[in-house]
């Protein structure tokens, strides 16, 4: 049994804020891994009721997302996802970090990312065609690091991974989402992307 597996099996006690962070990464991953299905779409307003608040940027972002989810159905969302992110050639919005960090897909940042993932014992699932720098994949890694490593060493791993692979480009991704043409839902995810990752960045700076 690997060390990581033992930690998962033992169920490390997560603080409320680490659980909330893990949940945010799970939600962000699901938002971008594929178009939200009807079930997930229905859950978003409930999540917005939990985390929504007019008092801070994250809360406002949640209120906006909950509202967006109530005003679109899964079929329309599937169309929007496909059009924005999966277009052959140059999609309207790129979800891959290397595009923002290096200007091209599959560039140096992916090589560095693969080395860091290997160090963590992670790799790409067989049959997955997206490269490892997809926003959903990076969110999955962060969530994995949070639930398996809430201790100081784990926090250090989270900080390193976030700083190298998410911090450099989340603002550019948020901008691109906000400007997505002829779209009703994904521009309203931009605020959540920006607010949550900005909180993460500031919080890591306090370590």
């Amino acid at each position: 049994m690997s060390a990581v597996l033992e930690r998962v099996a033992a169920g490390p006690l997560l603080s409320d804020e680490d659980r909330a962070r893990a949940e945010h990464y799970a939600v962000l991953s699901r938002l971008f891994a594929s178009a939200p299905d009807a079930d997930f779409l229905r859950q978003l307003p409930a999540l917005a009721a939990t985390w929504g608040s007019s008092g801070n940027a994250l809360g406002q972002a949640w209120l906006m997302l909950g509202d967006a989810a109530r005003n679109i159905d899964a079929e329309q969302l599937e169309d929007e996802y496909t059009r924005l992110f999966l277009t052959i050639g140059r999609p309207d919005v790129m979800l891959f970090g290397s595009f923002y960090m290096a200007g091209f897909l599959m560039e140096g940042p992916v090589v560095e990312l693969r080395a860091d993932l290997a160090e963590l014992g992670l790799g790409r699932r067989l049959g997955v065609t997206e490269s490892e720098d997809h926003i959903a994949a990076l969110c999955d890694v962060m969530r994995h690091l949070i639930v398996t490593g809430p201790d100081a060493a784990g926090l250090g791993r989270q900080q390193l991974f976030f700083t190298r692979h998410l911090a450099p480009w989340f603002e550019a991704l948020s901008d691109a989402l906000e400007r997505a043409p002829d779209a009703r839902f994904y521009p309203r995810t931009a605020a959540l992307v920006r607010a949550f990752f900005e909180i993460e960045r500031l919080a890591f700076d306090m370590l």
């Binding site: 690997s2 998962v8 409320d16 949940e23 799970a26 699901r30 859950q43 790409r124 997955v128 969530r143």
Partner: protein, 67 residues
């Protein structure tokens, strides 16, 4: 846990104030709270939420991470 260190208390206070602190109400929605699920050897196709998998620990992670 290392919460007793001053910088961690500061960080924690910041996260709570920023709105990242109230977990629990959405446990079912994002699968959190199932971290004690026994490891599994395989991952069902519908468990996929992203692009990473390798060995048993990641299989388990995918199981717990299902949204």
């Amino acid at each position: 846990m290392t919460d007793k260190k001053p910088e961690n208390l500061k960080r924690r206070g910041f996260l709570l104030a920023a709105g990242v602190g109230s977990a629990g109400a959405v446990a079912v929605a994002v699968g959190v709270g199932k971290e004690k699920t026994p490891p599994v050897a395989t991952v069902k196709a519908e468990d996929k939420v992203g692009s990473y998998e390798e060995t048993r620990h990641v299989s388990n992670y995918y199981r717990t991470a299902r949204v």
